[in-house]
Every structure is written in structure tokens, then in C-alpha cells.
């Protein structure tokens, strides 16, 4: 691929006898957002650590802008922006002092005013870092990552700890920069973030990429939509045949959930059925297949037994580091 600026081939990282990343290969193209998803211990942050030059691979080949990120780190550093999942600040410094100190590390840094305005913390310039909220710290984090006008931005769980407005601002900011040519490698446990931002996603589990492609490719054929509604108990026995329907009694009504690959046709059939039976589909909902469904489907068979696997809720799936 001619415009790939990150190339990872058969990357393996071992810690002693344990394998954190197991033969992973992928490419990231100029100007795209590539999202790595996975459960705790899936190998996402380890993969990022290798791409960022913090960690040497046990085997395999990795290049960023054609350079070895570990060996050529000093040459690459000014072209990369890194927002770490977990990294400390000098807690006694103010926001102004922190950014001013960090600006000295770059040859042509963004101005202090531009940086704080970009991430929306201009009102906190005189505040010590240890007095910032979790979301404000993440904003400062992002501001520092963008200080050197990076060509590629690594975001490791960028919006963790941010309030909804902060998350929206952060995503809009990154999306805007992507339209100007910025390349982004993202890990997140908010699947809707990946859906909103990523051009391509890779789902990692136990060190391996289980599925990768554009959102459309990953969603197509690997997920089903659901149509759910309530009908009177007696009518629940007379649903059209051939539906993959699950019924759940709810007092005088029954909740029906139909899984379908073709929600439009299914919905038309159900509406026709309801009209012919002179009833209505109460609490009707159609939900398209999501990345969350894909992920759950892929890892359902071999999820860790402990509590750190994906939860089956509509809330963000806890898939941290």
C-alpha cells in the first residue's frame, strides 16, 4: 500500500513466557483514523507502546514513516503526538507553566493561547494541575499531544474521564484535524467513539487481531439488526412464521425481539401482520447492528471468566488497557 505511514508485520511482544501481542499485522494510511478495540489485556496499549517507540517488539517488523520507532525515536518524536492512557503531570505546576515548559521541547510549537483555546481550558491557565478535574486533565493531555503540530496522533483512551460535552468537543476537534490530513491511531472503550471517528477498526483479543476493516466491512455480515416491540399475550403466539424471534412475557403483553439481517423487510412484514390482526406494535424499536454486537459476537466464546470482559449493557463496554 503506497500511502501507509504505519506498517506492522507479524508483531509479537512477549513478557517473559507470556505473549502480549501475538503476530499482529496491519497498516495505517495517511489521513485515516484507525481504531484498536479489545478487552483488558488484549494487547492494544502494548501495540501502541511499540508504535510510539516505548517498547521494542520481541519479533516482527514495525515502521512509522518508514523508520523504526524504537531505534529512530528521536527522529520520529517531533512528527508524533502522543496522548497516553495513563501518565503523570508535574502536579504543582499550573496549566500555563506546564504548557510553557512543554513548548520548549518543540522547534515550532503551537502558542500557549492557541493550545488552551483548542482544548477548552483557557479559563484554567493559572490553576495547578493537581486541582484540575479528570476531564480537564485529559484536555491538557490532548493539548500537550497537539503542541508540536503532529502528523500522526496516538490516542490511548482519549476521552476517559471526560464529561459528555468534553467528549463531544474532543471528538470534534480530532475529526476536524483529520480532515486537514492528520492521521490518528486510537484505542477506546467507547465503541460509539470508534463508530463516530474511525475509518477502519481492528478488534483485538488475547493479543491477536480477530477482525479488521472499514466499519462497513466489519459490520456487514457479522451483525444483525434487532426489531423489538410489545404485543398482547394472545397475539404473541400468532407471529408470522420464519422469524428469529425471542419472547419475554411482561404481564398482559409479551415483548418480542426479532433478529434480522434485513430490518426493512422484517419491519414491513410485522407492520402488515399487526394491521391484519388489528393491533399495534407498542414500544417499537429498530436497532441496527453495531460494533458492540460485532465485538460481543467475536469474543463471546472465549471471553475471560473474570469480571473484566465486556458487559452486555448499552453503556460503554469496559475494555480498558
Amino acid at each position: 500500500m503506497s500511502n501507509a505511514i504505519i506498517e506492522v508485520h507479524d508483531l509479537t511482544v512477549r513478557y517473559g513466557n507470556t505473549v502480549a501481542v501475538d503476530g499482529t499485522s496491519f497498516e495505517v494510511r495517511q489521513g485515516e483514523v484507525f481504531a484498536l478495540l479489545g478487552t483488558n489485556g488484549a494487547g492494544k496499549t502494548t501495540t501502541l507502546d511499540v508504535l510510539e517507540g516505548y517498547l521494542q517488539p520481541s519479533s516482527g517488523a514495525v515502521s512509522v514513516f518508514g523508520l523504526d520507532p524504537s531505534r529512530d525515536r528521536d527522529r520520529l518524536a517531533s512528527r508524533m503526538g502522543i496522548m497516553l492512557q495513563e501518565a503523570g503531570f508535574f502536579e504543582t505546576l499550573t496549566v500555563r507553566q506546564t504548557i510553557t515548559a512543554w513548548r520548549r521541547f518543540y522547534d515550532t510549537p503551537r502558542s500557549l493561547a492557541d493550545t488552551v483555546a483548542l482544548v477548552g481550558i483557557e479559563h484554567r491557565l493559572g490553576t495547578r494541575v493537581n486541582a484540575l478535574s479528570g476531564g480537564e486533565r485529559r484536555r491538557l493531555d490532548l493539548g500537550l499531544a497537539l503542541l508540536g503540530h503532529p502528523e500522526i496522533l496516538f490516542l490511548d483512551e482519549p476521552t476517559t474521564g471526560m464529561d459528555p460535552a468534553g467528549r463531544r468537543d474532543c471528538l470534534e476537534l480530532v475529526a476536524g484535524m483529520v480532515t486537514e490530513g492528520l492521521t490518528v491511531v486510537l484505542t477506546t472503550h467507547y465503541l460509539e467513539e470508534a463508530e463516530q471517528l474511525a475509518h477502519r477498526v481492528a478488534i483485538m483479543h488475547r493479543g491477536r487481531i480477530r477482525r479488521m476493516g472499514t466499519l462497513g466491512e466489519v459490520l456487514t455480515g457479522a451483525s444483525e439488526s434487532t426489531v423489538s416491540f410489545d404485543v398482547p399475550v394472545l397475539l404473541a403466539q400468532r407471529l408470522p412464521s420464519g422469524l428469529d424471534a425471542h419472547t419475554e412475557p411482561r404481564g398482559s403483553t409479551t415483548e418480542i425481539t426479532v433478529r434480522t439481517a434485513d430490518p426493512e423487510t422484517t419491519l414491513r412484514a410485522l407492520l402488515g401482520w399487526a394491521e391484519s390482526h388489528r393491533t399495534s406494535l407498542e414500544r417499537l424499536q429498530v436497532r441496527r447492528g453495531s460494533l458492540e454486537d460485532v465485538f460481543l459476537g467475536l469474543s463471546d466464546d472465549d471471553l475471560p471468566a473474570s469480571g473484566d470482559g465486556p458487559a452486555r449493557t448499552s453503556d460503554p463496554i469496559p475494555m480498558g488497557a
Binding site: 507470556t18 502480549a20 489485556g41 516505548y54 518524536a77 497516553l84 501518565a87 512543554w102 522547534d107
Partner: protein, 283 residues
């Protein structure tokens, strides 16, 4: 820009950052600023009226020179505090997310730890000369060489050892007894050195003792390596340089040990995080 040319360009921003953070931690900064000066001057106060020794120097003269070394040995305390604390809080990892080379981060930290030591050494000499009428150094260059070589060696050793020690505050408690023992055995706080006791023979091979021997030899232009406290002939610059080859060799050897320790044990990230990564990978 080549790496060698650009290195200082990155070191000085790190020095400025480290210094700012250092002086914002008021309690730590006060201890770091006052303690070495006090420990350098207090022994001189105690011996100020004692008569001259065989070398013709008074004990207060000798302690003025060695008092300069107290702050050099104290560099271990400042370095361990920043190295262990910033590793555990992942501040080093954040710094490494910028274009500053890893060596410039540690170089800046070491220079930042050494700067107060240089000022403290100057204060000790100023008090010695002004209050106790101690003569000025004979060979300034050798004094400077001893202080710089000692600072580099002790900083390198401390960065190396930091990989074996836990979080910041605990590390300073662990390293402090070693600093005190080095102060005492090196002769930086006492006139006793060069005796034939087993402890003194061992002490001759400590980096702290080597620093004191070099600085004393340079300060007075007398051989404080081979002659101890006995009668001393005056040495020219060349002879003085020749006289310090052994302690200089000791410093180089310790610097090499520090480098090996650094390469083997130093980590940029918390020790616990590395264990967690291994555990997560086994799930």
C-alpha cells in the same frame, strides 16, 4: 541538526523544568538547600580553634575543602527523589512523549540536581574563607574536576540504583543512610582520613572518598591521596594531576558500575505497571 549539537538544546529546557518543580516543593527544596550547607559548615565550626597539623594546615582548612564535597554526595538524594518519583507517577513517560531525547531528560535532571550542589560548594568556600580565614584553592581546575567527576559518577550510580528502589518518598528514606555513611567515611565531615583501619581502606574505594581526595589535593596543592594527613610536599599542577590518578580511576570505575546498573535496572515506567502488563497478557 546532529544529535550531539541538538542535545544541549533539549537539556536546558529539562533543567529549567526540573528546577521549577524542585523549588515548588518547598519542604524538599529547603532540606536540599540547607542540609548540605549546614553539614559542610558545622564541622568547621567545631574545629575552628584546633592547631595546625603535620601538613601545616589547620583542621578547619581541611574541612573547608572537604566541606565542598558534602553537597556533591548529596546529589544522590536529589536524583533518587526525582528518578523514583517521576518513574512511579509516569511523568518520565509523558516527557518521553515529546521530542526530548531520553538521555537529555536524565542529563537535565542530573544537571538540575548538580546546580544547587555547585552553589552550595561555593557558599561553603565563601564562609570558610570569609569567616575562618581559610586560603583560596591552589589548583582551581583540579577542584572543579573533582566536583564535576564526582557529580557525574554519583548521578549515574543513583539513576542505576533507582531501578531497584520503590516509589519516591521511600527511596529517599532508603538512600539517606548511605549518603550519611558516605559523608562520614569520605572525610567530608571529619579530618580523619588515610588511617590504616580496615574501614578506611575500604572507604578509599568509595566514590565519595575519591571526590574528597581529589578536591583536597587540588585545593591545597598537596598530595592527599598517598600521604593522608602526614607531611605534604607542595605539588605543581602537573604533579597534582598525577597524584589524583587513583581516585580518578575509582570514580571512572564507579561510573562504569553506575552505567551497567542503569542499563540493567533503570526503568522509565513504574515497576508495578510492568508486572501488571505481564499479568494482563496471561489472561
Amino acid at each position: 541538526m546532529s544529535a550531539i549539537v541538538s542535545w544541549p538544546r533539549y537539556v536546558w529546557p529539562q533543567v529549567a523544568l526540573s528546577q521549577r518543580v524542585y523549588w515548588q516543593d518547598v519542604a524538599f527544596a529547603l532540606v536540599g538547600a540547607v542540609m548540605p550547607v549546614a553539614m559542610g559548615i558545622f564541622p568547621m565550626v567545631q574545629v575552628r580553634d584546633l592547631p595546625a597539623m603535620a601538613s601545616g594546615l589547620r583542621p578547619v582548612d581541611l574541612l573547608a575543602a572537604s566541606g565542598m564535597c558534602v553537597s556533591v554526595i548529596w546529589i544522590a538524594y536529589a536524583v533518587i527523589n526525582s528518578a523514583a518519583r517521576r518513574r512511579e507517577t509516569r511523568t518520565y513517560k509523558r516527557l518521553r512523549a515529546t521530542p526530548i531525547p531520553a538521555s537529555a531528560i536524565l542529563g537535565g535532571e542530573a544537571v538540575s540536581a548538580a546546580l544547587p550542589a555547585l552553589v552550595q560548594s561555593a557558599v561553603v568556600v565563601a564562609v570558610a574563607v570569609g569567616v575562618f580565614h581559610v586560603p583560596l584553592p591552589v589548583h582551581w581546575g583540579i577542584v572543579a574536576l573533582g566536583i564535576v567527576a564526582g557529580a557525574v559518577t554519583i548521578a549515574l550510580l543513583t539513576f542505576g540504583v533507582s531501578g531497584l528502589l520503590p516509589a519516591g518518598e521511600l527511596s529517599t528514606w532508603i538512600i539517606t543512610p548511605f549518603v550519611i555513611v558516605m559523608w562520614y567515611l569520605s572525610g567530608s565531615m571529619t579530618v580523619a582520613t588515610g588511617s590504616a583501619s580496615t574501614v578506611d581502606r575500604i572507604a578509599d574505594y568509595l566514590p565519595s572518598t575519591a571526590v574528597v581526595q581529589i578536591v583536597r589535593t587540588g585545593y591545597f596543592g598537596q598530595d592527599y591521596v598517598a600521604h593522608g594527613l602526614s607531611s605534604h610536599p607542595h605539588l605543581g599542577l602537573g604533579e597534582a594531576l598525577g597524584a589524583i590518578h587513583q581516585p580518578l580511576g575509582v570514580l571512572i570505575a564507579w561510573a562504569a558500575v553506575g552505567y551497567v546498573l542503569f542499563r540493567t535496572f533503570f526503568t522509565w515506567e513504574p515497576r508495578a505497571a510492568r508486572r501488571r502488563s505481564r499479568r494482563a497478557a496471561t489472561r
